[in-house]
């Protein structure tokens, strides 16, 4: 019922498959839960839950509650020992569901799985619960975890001969003390939603071939419960991939025939540039620069087709192998984005030839490709291109928003139209228009101790729809091989406009970087046109980026936020090789807890889904959505587009090396 790996209402020691994202909706009596579980690593599961408890508060009032769980499998199951997991339920919310547990699960027969656990607080089998945080919640109560009486719970899961159908039975140590108001608490409802007659729960669970699961349960001798869950897994989805085949490598003749005379032919560079540009264009890349000699060729390309950098590199390398005569034995491919050279990938042509059909060719080409910072593009090496260039796109957007003031959540969704004119590789002008289909148009309620930098969202949605979301002039530059810069001027985001500048130092091959951003901004009018209100502020952050593995990145931003508060934001994200991105962030500033509303600090989760994994065709487009507080004024950061780290990371070592699976595709 909690959306994490569990029996029925009790936890188990199981984990979801690595990377799985699971949505669960469950309910019984007057209680329902909507949960998102994410298997963050092979052993660590995180759950975000939004619960509705009708007839819970005094006078039959409804309570809406957010809660977070963490579940960690300490030991995986072996032939002779069970899997053992430790977990924290509702560890930083209002503690309505707060519990801690240590649990073991074991396959005891081919079709029978047993679970036995110890529980604290809500799972203690007593009425001695962790006290409710009647304030704003959001701060972990470390001193109360695994304290007090201990309860025992457990259960069995039997896989029936009918494929997909399982039968569950469990002994519950949750006494539903508050829901039954056993202790006569005046703040809770005096008429219980159900009466707990039994410790035993039973359930029938059916898993469809698609993986969706439906569960019907009989709970506590009194209630019928239902649960539906569905999942997706970025790692194991199987959608195929439809694209034109890459050019094959043509083997070269004997070395003695590798003449270098061709380099002296008139117009050879222009001819090669034309033919290479044609081949690259078929694979969605633009030739930005070319440097040729008889043994070595270096190209600068802007990949506009593939969301996976190694695929663009692989295609470019094969195009080079088709165009250049046999004497050229060394290729260098420099990835460019918004006029910024991101990294140089050096390859030997001989490796391309010998590895194209070799055993372990993916691993071997990854080993033999060298990634480092690129040289500057000299004027003589720039291939002529026509400017200005215009691009546009449109698409839906959606965000699940949480209100810290009334505990409600809703969807903010609509259509966004984007357009941009590139006046040169580094200078562009463009913006976006939005038309919402569903949004919160409620004006802020009550006084605020902070400038209303975000809590006026409802007014923006009411007055400025459709509205001009952004309109900026952007310039990028690169003062040193590993230093990137950006200046943006105009309507920077839907609520603020002004000037934003950023410098980022990050070498292509290193796994960390440092950035500095400064913004002088003024609050925009609610109509989302060109006018401004009186509030203005200078904000900025120092940012550290740490690529902990090919998939996991941590980002720490320290600085001043839009309401003038000072603090920091920690973001942890996992980005799969195929571009799926799942992450969470938390912001803590010097604003007092009450000003934030429930939760005490700003936090949220986000998911980015690359469209290529949905359409099975190559595209760089993606859908991004999230669940976050949108109208908390504390900890609000300017939402500038084109932040440098986001812009350059795909062209750096971690992302390239993590995507070599597609080099040969």
């Amino acid at each position: 019922m909690y959306g994490a790996p569990d029996l029925i209402d009790m936890p188990s020691a199981d984990v979801l498959p690595d990377g799985q994202i699971q949505l669960t909706f469950s309910g019984f009596a007057d209680f329902n839960k909507s949960s998102v579980a994410f298997q963050m690593s092979p052993r660590l599961t995180g759950v975000l839950r939004y619960s509705g408890l009708s007839n819970y508060a005094s006078g039959g009032g409804r309570v809406l509650d957010r809660s977070f769980d963490l579940h960690y499998q300490l030991l995986p199951e072996t032939k002779h020992t069970p899997a053992i997991a430790i977990g924290l339920r509702d560890f930083m919310g209002t503690s309505i569901y707060s519990a801690q547990y240590l649990v073991a699960s074991k396959q005891v027969r081919p079709a029978l799985r047993a679970t036995l656990g110890l529980g604290w607080s809500r799972l203690s089998g007593t009425h001695q619960l962790q006290p409710l945080d009647t304030g704003t919640g959001g701060v972990p109560a470390f001193d109360q975890w695994f304290r007090g009486p201990v309860g025992v719970f457990g259960g069995l899961v039997w896989e029936t001969p009918i494929e997909g159908l399982t039968v569950k039975v469990e002994y519950s140590s949750d006494l539903y003390t508050r829901e039954n108001n056993v202790l006569g608490d005046a703040t809770l409802s005096s008429v219980p939603s159900f009466t707990r007659h039994s410790d035993i729960n039973v359930a029938l669970s059916y898993r469809f071939q698609s993986g969706a699961n439906v569960e019907l349960s009989y709970l506590y001798g009194d209630q019928i419960g239902v649960q539906f869950s569905g999942f997706t897994n970025p790692r194991t989805r199987k959608t195929g991939y439809y694209d034109i085949a890459p050019l094959p490598i043509q083997g070269r003749g004997p070395a003695m025939h590798q003449s270098t005379d061709w380099i002296d032919r008139d117009g050879i560079k222009a001819l090669a540039a034309n033919q290479l540009a044609d081949l690259l264009a078929r694979d969605g890349a633009r030739l930005m620069g070319l440097s040729i000699d008889a043994q070595e060729v270096r190209i600068w390309i802007d990949n506009r087709k593939y969301s996976v950098p190694a695929q663009a590199i692989g295609r470019a390398a094969r195009a080079m192998a088709r165009v250049f005569p046999d004497s050229v034995d060394h290729f260098e491919i420099i990835l460019v984005r918004n006029g910024l050279s991101l990294s140089r990938v050096a390859l030997d042509r001989t490796d391309l030839e010998t590895l194209e059909h070799a055993d372990r060719k993916i691993e071997k080409i990854a080993q033999r490709s060298h990634v480092d910072d690129p040289p500057a593009l000299a004027t003589a090496e720039i291939t002529p291109a026509r400017y200005p260039q215009f691009s546009w796109s449109w698409g839906p957007y959606a965000q699940i928003n949480f209100s810290d003031f009334n505990d409600q959540f809703g969807i903010d969704g609509g259509v966004r139209l984007r357009g941009r004119i590139h006046l040169s590789p580094k200078l562009s002008f463009g913006g976006s228009l939005i038309k919402t289909f569903e949004s919160d148009k409620t004006p802020p309620v009550g006084p605020s101790s902070l400038p209303r930098v975000r809590s006026n969202l409802g007014l923006y949605n009411a007055v400025g729809d459709p509205g001009l979301e952004t309109l900026t002039l952007d310039y990028t530059f690169k003062p040193a091989p590993a230093v990137y810069g950006r200046i943006s001027v105009g309507l920077l985001e839907s609520m603020f406009g002004g000037i934003s500048g950023e410098i980022l130092w990050k070498s292509a091959s290193q796994n960390w970087g440092l950035g500095l951003e400064l913004n002088a901004v003024k609050q925009r009018d609610f109509d989302r046109r060109f006018g401004f209100q009186n509030y203005s502020i200078v904000t900025g952050h120092i940012s550290g980026y740490f690529e902990l593995s090919n998939e996991v990145t941590a980002q720490l931003d320290l600085g001043r936020y839009l309401a003038g508060d000072w603090g920091g934001t920690l973001t942890i994200e996992r980005r799969f090789a195929n571009g799926w991105r799942v992450g969470a962030f938390a912001t803590l500033t010097d604003v007092d807890r009450d000003s934030f509303g429930e939760g005490s600090f700003d936090k949220g989760i986000f998911v980015e889904i690359p469209l290529t994994t949905l359409t099975s065709t190559p595209t760089q487009a993606s859908l991004e959505t999230g669940f976050r507080s949108v109208n908390a004024d504390g900890g609000a950061r300017l939402n500038v587009e084109n932040r440098l780290y986001e812009m350059i990371r795909d062209g750096h070592f971690r992302r390239i090396s993590g995507s070599f699976g597609r080099f040969w595709q």
Partner: protein
Amino acid sequence: MIKRLSAAIGALFVLISCSSNQGVEIDTIRETINIRNASNAAPDDNPVTQDSLKGITQKLIRVKVPRKNISFFAARIATNGDTDTYMSRAGQSVTVTGAAVIATRGLGFDLIGRSGGERSEYIFLDDDHKSVRIRPHCRQTALGSQHIEIAEIKHTANLLQERCNTDQGRHINQFWVARNGDPLRVHHWVGPELGIIEIDWLN
């Protein structure tokens, strides 16, 4: 129908006939581009005639993937060591070593590679770009000579058959090879999604 078939092969021939088999001459590249980008003219299911192949010196194959209802002609556009890669006008490619298929591209669920040896290994990519390897258990049997007809030409071929088991099920590979060792026809399993790919060498 026959006219359309002849036109399809003829168009392919025109596009490839300018290509040098040396492959590294700058002037040959445009033809390769044309092959990759010409509109996809799915060939008819009619038998190929010698008339429609007249004058074509480039190696040409006909490929079918019955499970996916895919069918196309492809011309050899690259040789790298002992492998030949054939590409269709619509950008599908098949790479072979002798009669054995070792890679496909542009078919949706492609065979990324195949290693030889006593127990061959088929390599695919999952959606997270990680290698997925399948190692069938196969038993080879020589079934002697057979008479087959390809493009109105009768051949006497040696038929080699492989009966294979994988976790996904069973399949049979069949290789028809001319007495001089040239491949004539192959029915080769290339993965659980595509199943068997059928290739006829037309010239």
